[in-house]
């Protein structure tokens, strides 16, 4: 371990999404997401918490580390950044441009890759495991491909160490039948699961401090992206139509009178499930 470690720059991608506690809707001719009841994505809170814990593990705020919350989208999108600043991010970036409307995963990835390049000296990009709205979980992987960075997805633990003049990461990754240890040098991009930590809530001090933190508002021109590469124009996929699924109707409800197990088996036999 080196005596002095250089300051880390961590970019956390955050998104405002429809609150999953309520019914969600697709709107308009282009069937895009209705974001009127939106919050900071629950899954992004784990990424932000991971960033803050890395800062704390390596000397804290005094060591000059910077956590930058990055988002893109219309005026409402900035709320995800504001919430992140209240929780503890040091600064915010909001990419906003009318031409972004209707971006698919690839367009979103191109725009975010341009923002990361624009920031310049980013050591680590952190994201949640998926967005809770698009549910495609394509963006972190596409971002890594565009930035040509090593990537770790679904990290359930994440540690950094500075050694031999470079930052190194060690992460743990679990799937159904295997647990893996993964290593890489920085810069890198890591998506974290909801098992990695317990996100903190903003406190009063944090909420007051956030008011003084800076949010840079950037346009596509600022980050060097041609409007034809994003939005409806740059999309590689198209939603042709969307139908609300008929609500599931309630079936038969019985109260157990000592024979419910057998009646359950009768039901399964009727449905030819045995």
């Amino acid at each position: 371990m080196d005596e002095t470690t250089p300051a880390l720059r961590i970019a956390v991608l955050v998104k405002h999404v429809p609150d999953t506690q309520f019914d969600r809707h697709l709107n308009g001719d282009d069937r895009t997401t209705d974001r009127s009841e939106s919050i900071l994505s629950e899954l992004d809170e784990y990424a932000l918490e991971a960033a803050l814990q890395l800062v704390e593990a390596h000397g804290g705020d005094g060591a000059g580390h910077r956590v930058t919350a990055v988002t893109m989208g219309g005026a409402g999108a900035v709320n995800a950044v504001k919430k992140s600043l209240q929780i503890g991010a040091h600064e915010g970036v909001h990419l906003t441009d009318d031409a972004l409307a209707g971006s698919d995963a690839s367009g979103t990835s191109r725009a975010l890759a341009a923002v990361i390049r624009h920031l310049g000296d980013v050591d680590l990009v952190l994201t949640g495991m998926a967005s809770t709205d698009g549910e495609t979980s394509l963006v972190p992987a596409q971002l890594a491909e565009l930035l040509e960075l090593p990537q770790v997805t679904f990290a359930s633990s994440l540690e950094l160490r500075h050694d031999g003049g470079a930052w190194h990461l060690t992460a743990r990754r679990e799937s159904d039948n295997v647990a893996e240890t993964v290593e890489s040098t920085l810069p890198a991009i890591v998506s974290v699961t909801d098992q990695i930590n317990e996100p903190r809530y903003p406190n009063f001090k944090g909420i007051m401090a956030a008011k003084k933190k800076q949010i840079s508002v950037l346009s596509l021109a600022d980050v060097g992206v041609d409007p034809s590469e994003v939005g409806h124009a740059g999309a590689w996929t198209r939603v042709e139509d969307a139908q609300p699924r008929p609500a599931r109707s309630q079936g038969v409800i019985i109260t157990d009178e000592g024979d419910a197990g057998r009646r359950l088996v009768d039901f399964l036999a009727e449905q030819k499930l045995l």
Partner: protein, 314 residues
């Protein structure tokens, strides 16, 4: 007829069920071909031939496995170009979706995940917002790359055929993190949640003992799942979690035991064909979507059902 390239990762001795489903689907859309990572055994080669696969593409360099998904994605993109594939099909696991995402960037091609149906023009049907909308979507740029949910098509029985020709594909190793340690978890002997026709899932009401659920799952040949409350309590491995932040399953039968059925849990299971719910609380929201609900104690209902199934089968 355009080639439809199916991505298969480490088939082992026999093809997995989801691989057979993808090959069956590919044959309805064009000429099936395979991009294969891992060993190609004689048995698998014969099976591929029986599904009408004429060409198998394999990486010419070893060691892609330890490069996480980046190396596999680079290979898949190279194979799609070598095959001049009209479309690429993958399974719908987290890893397959990542590989699809990256291959999409490399091929400048649109990616659609979570497909439940794909037609001859590669238009895709999928559910969004946890099954509250059904969406038809299509890829407008490049070779359509589509990840298909398990159980979306019935796997056809393989018939005859000859072993396919093998084509090596050169892949340059991309920037990637390396896997430096790996420990296998003990196999449960049950089908995986992604593939299972039947899922028995438990929540807070299980109160620590998944035994009665495992017994019923085994009697039915199903997999065991759990709500986040149960995995957070440490009663069962996190990989069993179904819901918003876990897996999404669409089995023929979903048995929900001791799960209240809040919206985050519904997100993972409401596209199941038949839902059976057992809960002590008659007001549990899960009953609103259950085809058959039992207000009762799972510790007496489940063992009775398990015993009855075993009795009827003898």
């Amino acid at each position: 007829m355009a080639k439809v390239l199916v991505y298969i990762d480490t088939p082992g001795e026999n093809l997995h069920k989801t691989d057979r489903e993808l090959l069956t689907l590919a044959a309805t859309l064009g000429e099936p071909a395979v991009a294969l990572v891992g060993e190609l055994g004689d048995q698998v080669a014969a099976e591929l031939g029986a599904y009408g696969v004429g060409a198998v593409y394999q990486p010419s360099n070893a060691g892609l496995d330890e490069l996480l998904v980046a190396g596999k994605a680079a290979f898949l993109a190279a194979a799609a170009e070598a095959a001049d594939a009209g479309a690429v099909l993958l399974g719908n696991t987290f890893e397959a979706k990542e590989i699809a995402a990256r291959a999409g960037i490399r091929l400048s091609s649109g990616v659609i995940t979570d497909a439940v149906a794909v037609d001859e023009s590669f238009a895709v049907t999928k559910a969004v917002f946890a099954g509250s909308y059904t969406v038809n979507a299509s890829v407008t740029t490049g070779r359509p790359i589509i990840t298909v949910k398990a159980n979306s098509v019935e796997a056809a029985a393989p018939q005859g055929g000859t072993a396919p020709a093998v084509h090596p594909v050169d892949v340059a190793a991309p920037a990637a993190a390396r896997i430096t340690g790996r420990s296998e978890k003990a196999p449960s002997g049950r089908p995986s949640l992604d593939e299972a026709r039947i899922v028995v899932a438990g929540g807070r009401g299980v109160d620590g003992d998944f035994g009665p659920l495992e017994d019923l799952a085994d009697a039915l040949g199903g997999a065991v799942g759990a709500s986040r409350a149960a995995t957070d309590a440490g009663w069962i491995d996190h990989s069993a979690q179904i819901g918003q932040t876990g897996k999404t399953v669409s089995p023929q039968l979903y048995v929900s035991a001791g799960i209240s059925g809040a919206i985050q849990q519904k997100a993972g299971m409401q596209t199941a064909k038949i839902i059976v719910a057992i809960n002590k609380d008659p007001d549990a929201p899960v009953f609103e979507i259950a085809d058959f609900g039992i207000v009762g104690d799972l510790t007496s209902v489940l063992p009775q059902a398990t015993e009855e199934i075993r009795k009827r089968r003898t």
